[in-house]
C-alpha cells in the first residue's frame, strides 16, 4: 500500500470501527452494572430505522440520530423490563429482543414503505473535517474527517471512563456489577442502576444504528445491523470493560475488517471467505497475545432480586 492507500485504509478502519465503538461503549457501561444485553443487535437495528425515519420526518440527519437513540433506548427498555424488572434470564431475553427488534423494524419498514420496500435515499450525516487535526499526516483525515457521530464516540469513551472510575456514581455502578448484594447493603438501588445502565447502552446502540443508516449507508435495509451487536459484545471483552480500551478495540476490529476489503481490492488471489474470517481470526490472535487475564464483572448476567 502506498501512503494514499494507507490513509484510505485508515479512514475505512475508523468508519467500520465507529458503530462498533458506539455500541460497545454503551454495552461496557451496561455490563459493568452486571447486565449482559445480547439484545444489543435489536437496539442497533431499531436505531438504524429510527434514524432513517427521524431523518426523513425532521428532514435532517441530526434529529435522525436523536430518534435513533430513542429507538435504541426503547428496545433497551423492553429488555430491561424483562431481564431486570422481572428478573428473567438475560440471555433468553436478549435473544428474544434481538429477534423481535429485527422483526419489528422489518415490519415497520414495510408498513411505511410497502412490502417490497423502496429505494430509500436519506439525508446523510456528512463528514466534518476538524480544521487542524484533520491535516495530521496519515491518521488526520482518518480520525478527524468523520461524521459527527464519530466525534461523539471519541468523546463518550473518556467521559464513560471518567464516570466509571472517578465518580461516586461509577463506583456504585461497578459495585452493582461485582457484588449486587454488597451494593444493596450499602444502600445502592441495584435494579435502578441496572435499568439506567441498560437504557444508556440501548441508546448508544441506537446511535450506532443511526450512524450505520445515516453516516454510512445513506439508507435503511432490513437486517442491516448484520451481527454487529454480537461483535460489539466481543469488543467489550477485548477492551476489558474499559471504555478507553473498548474504543481502541473497536477501531482495531474496524481495521481488521477494512483490511479484508483492501486485500481483496489489491487482488490477492485467495478465496474471499478467508478474507471475511480474517478480522475474527486476527482478534483471536490479538487476545492470545494480549497478556494478562481480564475478568468480567463478577455478577455479570446474574439476575438480582433483593432477597426480602
Amino acid at each position: 500500500m502506498n501512503q494514499i492507500e494507507l490513509t484510505l485504509f485508515l479512514e475505512s478502519a475508523v468508519r467500520l470501527g465507529i458503530p462498533l465503538a458506539l455500541a460497545a461503549i454503551g454495552e461496557t457501561i451496561t455490563e459493568r452494572s452486571g447486565v449482559i444485553n445480547i439484545g444489543l443487535e435489536g437496539s442497533i437495528i431499531a436505531g438504524a430505522l429510527g434514524g432513517a425515519l427521524g431523518a426523513l420526518a425532521f428532514e435532517g440527519a441530526g434529529l435522525g440520530v436523536l430518534s435513533g437513540a430513542m429507538a435504541g433506548l426503547l428496545v433497551g427498555l423492553v429488555f430491561a423490563v424483562f431481564a431486570i424488572g422481572l428478573g428473567a434470564d438475560q440471555i433468553i431475553t436478549g435473544t428474544a429482543v434481538t429477534i423481535g427488534g429485527l422483526g419489528m423494524t422489518g415490519a415497520i419498514y414495510q408498513a411505511r414503505f410497502g412490502a417490497t420496500g423502496t429505494e430509500l435515499s436519506l439525508p446523510t450525516l456528512a463528514p466534518v473535517a476538524i480544521p487542524v487535526l484533520s491535516e495530521i499526516p496519515l491518521v488526520g483525515s482518518a480520525l478527524f474527517a468523520q461524521a459527527p457521530t464519530a466525534y461523539f464516540a471519541y468523546l463518550m469513551a473518556p467521559i464513560a471512563w471518567y464516570v466509571l472510575f472517578k465518580t461516586a456514581w461509577g463506583l456504585e455502578l461497578r459495585a452493582t456489577g461485582e457484588a449486587p448484594a454488597a451494593a444493596e447493603a450499602a444502600g445502592v438501588r441495584v435494579r435502578l442502576v441496572r435499568f439506567m445502565a441498560t437504557l444508556f447502552g440501548g441508546a448508544m446502540a441506537g446511535i450506532a444504528g443511526a450512524h450505520l443508516a445515516l453516516a454510512h449507508a445513506g439508507t435503511f435495509a432490513e437486517n442491516m445491523s448484520a451481527g454487529k451487536g454480537f461483535i460489539a459484545i466481543a469488543v467489550v471483552v477485548l477492551g476489558r470493560w474499559n471504555p478507553l480500551l473498548v474504543l481502541f478495540a473497536a477501531l482495531f476490529f474496524g481495521a481488521a475488517s477494512a483490511l479484508q476489503f483492501f486485500l481483496q481490492a489489491l487482488g490477492f488471489d485467495l478465496a474471499y471467505q478467508i478474507f471475511l474470517a480474517f478480522p475474527y481470526v486476527l482478534t483471536l490472535a490479538a487476545l492470545a497475545g494480549w497478556v494478562g487475564k481480564s475478568r468480567a464483572p463478577a455478577a455479570l448476567a446474574l439476575p438480582w432480586e433483593p432477597h426480602r
Binding site: 461516586a168 456504585e172 457484588a179 448484594a181 447493603a185 450499602a186 444502600g187 445502592v188 438501588r189 464483572p297
Partner: protein, 491 residues
C-alpha cells in the same frame, strides 16, 4: 429507663419450611451495648437483617425512636441511622478497600471521603490497607473494613453480627473499647457473638434468642453464664457446657501417642506468603498455628492439606487430609448444593463408597443424615441447600464431613468460628478425642484461647515464617507478642 431507640416486637419470618423468627423481640437503648446470644440458627442474623432493611418481616412491628416504621431497603435503614455489620462480608471483592469505604459513604465526593476515612481510622484505631483490593486482603482486614464502613456513616444504632470471630484478642479488646465509647456517645450498640465471656465483658444488657423467639432479656449484672446457656440451648445440657467441658475439660497434660510417627512433613517450602517453611506434624498431637491473618497461615494450611503443591521445597503429606478451610462459603461448601451433595463432595472419593463410575447416592444420603444428626445441624432435611443454612450450621456440616473422612491428618482453619457454645464445645471435644485416637491435627486459629487450650505444640506465623513457641512462653501474652511481630504485614 428512657424510650428505646429501637423496639422490635413479635417479629416473624419464614423461609420456605423454616420459621426463622417466630415472634422475636428486642429493645435497643441509647447508650447501651446490647449482647445478643443464641444457638446456631436461632435467628439472630435474620432478626438483624430485618432491622437492617435487608429482609421484610412476615409479621411484627418495628419502632425507631418511638415511630412505627417499615423499612423497604437497606437504604431506608441507613437513612434511619441504623448501621449493620453483617455476619458475612458485604464488601465488593474486586474493588479496593478505599472504594468499598467510599461506597459506604454514598454521595460524597471522593476527596471528601478520603478525609473522613482518615479521621475515622484515627479515631477508632481501625487501620486498614486502603489501596489494597479486598479480594487480596485477609478476613481480619475485611472485618475491620466492614466495621469502618459502617462507622463512617455515623449510625445512631450500630449492629454487629459476629464481628469478633476473625479478630485477634488485642483487636477484640480494642473493638470492645470502641463499642463502649460509641455507646457512651449516646448510640445504641448491638452485638452478636458466640463467646460468652466476650459478650459478658462488653454488654450492659443481654438478649437470648432460641428457635426464633426471645427467651430472655436481662441486665448484665443479673446474668449468670449458666442461666444464659440454659436459655440458649434449653435447660438439660446447659450445665456441662457452661461449666465443665468448654472451660477446663480440654487441656491434656500428657498426650498418649507415639512421638516418632511423623504424618506430615514440610521441608523448605517457599511460595506465596511462605518462606522456607519447615514443619513436622506427628500422629496424636494437636499442632496449634497462631498468627495475625495474612501471615501465611492459610497458605500453610493449603500445603499441609495437600490442596496446593509447593513450587519450592518438599511437602510430604498423606493422600487424604481432612480440611476445614477458612472460607466456608467459597472453599468449604457449594451453596447451591444440598447437604447430601456437599457431603458427597468430599466423601464420595472414599473407598467405602465404592469406586465405580456411579455415585452411591443412597449410602451418601445415609451418611449425610448421620452427620446432620450427630452435629445437630438445623436444617429441615439433607435435601436443604447449604446456602440456606445459618453460618454456624454451615460450619457444622463441613466439620462433620471432614471428620467422617477418617483421614490420618486433619487441618482445620478456625473450625469453631461462628459456632455456638455447645457446638464449639463439641468440636473441641472431638478434636481432643481424635488426637487421642492417633490423628495428627493442625489447628490454625485466630482464637488464642482455643489454641492454647487444645494444642500440644504451638507455632506462630509471622510474614510467612514459622516460629516455634517454646513451652514456657505458651501464654496469651507470650504468643500474642510473637504474633504482633507480623502485624505490620497487614496494617
Amino acid at each position: 429507663m428512657s424510650d428505646p431507640l429501637v423496639r422490635l416486637r413479635g417479629v416473624q419470618r419464614r423461609f420456605g419450611r423454616v420459621q426463622a423468627l417466630a415472634g422475636a423481640e428486642l429493645d435497643l437503648h441509647a447508650g447501651e451495648v446490647h449482647g445478643v446470644l443464641g444457638a446456631n440458627g436461632a435467628g439472630k442474623s435474620t432478626l438483624f437483617n430485618v432491622l437492617g432493611g435487608l429482609l421484610a418481616p412476615d409479621a411484627g412491628s418495628l419502632e425507631i425512636e418511638g415511630v412505627q416504621t417499615a423499612l423497604g431497603s437497606p437504604r431506608d435503614a441507613w437513612s434511619r441511622g441504623i448501621g449493620l455489620v453483617h455476619q458475612h462480608f458485604t464488601l465488593v471483592p474486586a474493588l479496593s478497600v478505599r472504594e468499598n469505604l467510599a461506597l459506604g459513604l454514598r454521595g460524597r465526593s471522593l476527596t471528601e471521603v478520603g478525609g473522613v476515612v482518615e479521621a475515622t481510622m484515627e479515631r477508632t484505631g481501625l487501620r486498614v490497607p486502603l489501596e489494597a483490593t479486598v479480594s487480596a486482603i485477609g478476613v481480619g482486614d475485611r472485618q475491620r473494613t466492614e466495621i469502618l464502613k459502617t462507622l463512617l456513616r455515623d449510625p445512631k444504632v450500630l449492629v454487629l453480627d459476629e464481628p469478633t470471630a476473625v479478630l485477634t484478642p488485642e483487636e477484640v479488646d480494642g473493638l470492645f473499647d470502641l463499642l463502649r465509647e460509641l455507646a457512651g456517645e449516646g448510640r445504641a450498640v448491638a452485638l452478636v457473638a458466640h463467646k460468652l465471656d466476650e459478650v459478658l465483658a462488653v454488654s450492659d444488657r443481654l438478649t437470648v434468642l432460641r428457635a426464633g423467639r426471645t427467651v430472655l432479656t436481662t441486665e448484665r449484672a443479673g446474668a449468670s453464664e449458666r442461666a444464659l446457656v440454659a436459655a440458649m440451648v434449653g435447660s438439660g445440657v446447659a450445665d456441662e457446657i457452661a461449666l465443665g467441658v468448654h472451660r477446663t475439660g480440654m487441656k491434656r497434660d500428657a498426650p498418649a501417642r507415639d512421638p516418632s510417627a511423623v504424618v506430615g512433613r514440610l521441608t523448605g517450602v517457599t511460595g506465596e506468603r511462605l518462606t522456607n517453611a519447615t514443619l513436622e506434624v506427628r500422629a496424636g498431637e494437636v499442632l496449634g498455628v497462631a498468627g495475625v491473618e495474612g501471615n501465611g497461615q492459610h497458605e500453610l494450611a493449603l500445603v499441609l492439606a495437600g490442596r496446593v503443591r509447593p513450587a519450592v521445597g518438599v511437602a510430604q503429606v498423606p493422600d487424604e487430609v481432612a480440611f476445614v478451610p477458612q472460607d466456608r462459603r467459597t472453599e468449604g461448601l457449594v451453596p447451591d448444593f444440598d447437604l447430601t451433595e456437599n457431603i458427597a463432595l468430599a466423601l464420595s472419593r472414599l473407598d467405602r463408597f465404592g469406586a465405580g463410575p456411579l455415585m452411591p447416592w443412597d449410602a451418601l444420603e445415609e451418611e449425610a443424615e448421620r452427620i446432620r444428626t450427630r452435629f445437630d445441624v438445623t436444617a429441615p432435611s439433607v435435601a436443604t441447600l447449604a446456602g440456606a443454612l445459618s453460618g454456624g450450621n454451615q460450619q457444622r456440616v463441613i466439620i462433620g464431613r471432614e471428620l467422617a473422612l477418617g483421614a490420618q491428618m486433619l487441618v482445620a482453619e478456625n473450625p469453631t468460628r461462628g459456632l455456638d457454645v455447645a457446638a464449639a464445645a463439641y468440636v473441641h471435644g472431638e478434636l481432643v478425642r481424635l488426637a487421642a485416637a492417633g490423628l495428627a491435627i493442625v489447628l490454625v486459629s485466630t482464637d488464642l484461647d482455643e489454641i492454647l487450650e487444645l494444642s500440644d505444640r504451638v507455632v506462630v506465623m509471622t510474614r510467612g515464617r514459622i516460629v516455634v513457641v517454646p513451652g514456657n512462653e505458651r501464654t496469651r501474652e507470650g504468643v500474642g507478642a510473637l504474633m504482633l511481630a507480623g502485624r505490620s504485614q497487614t496494617g
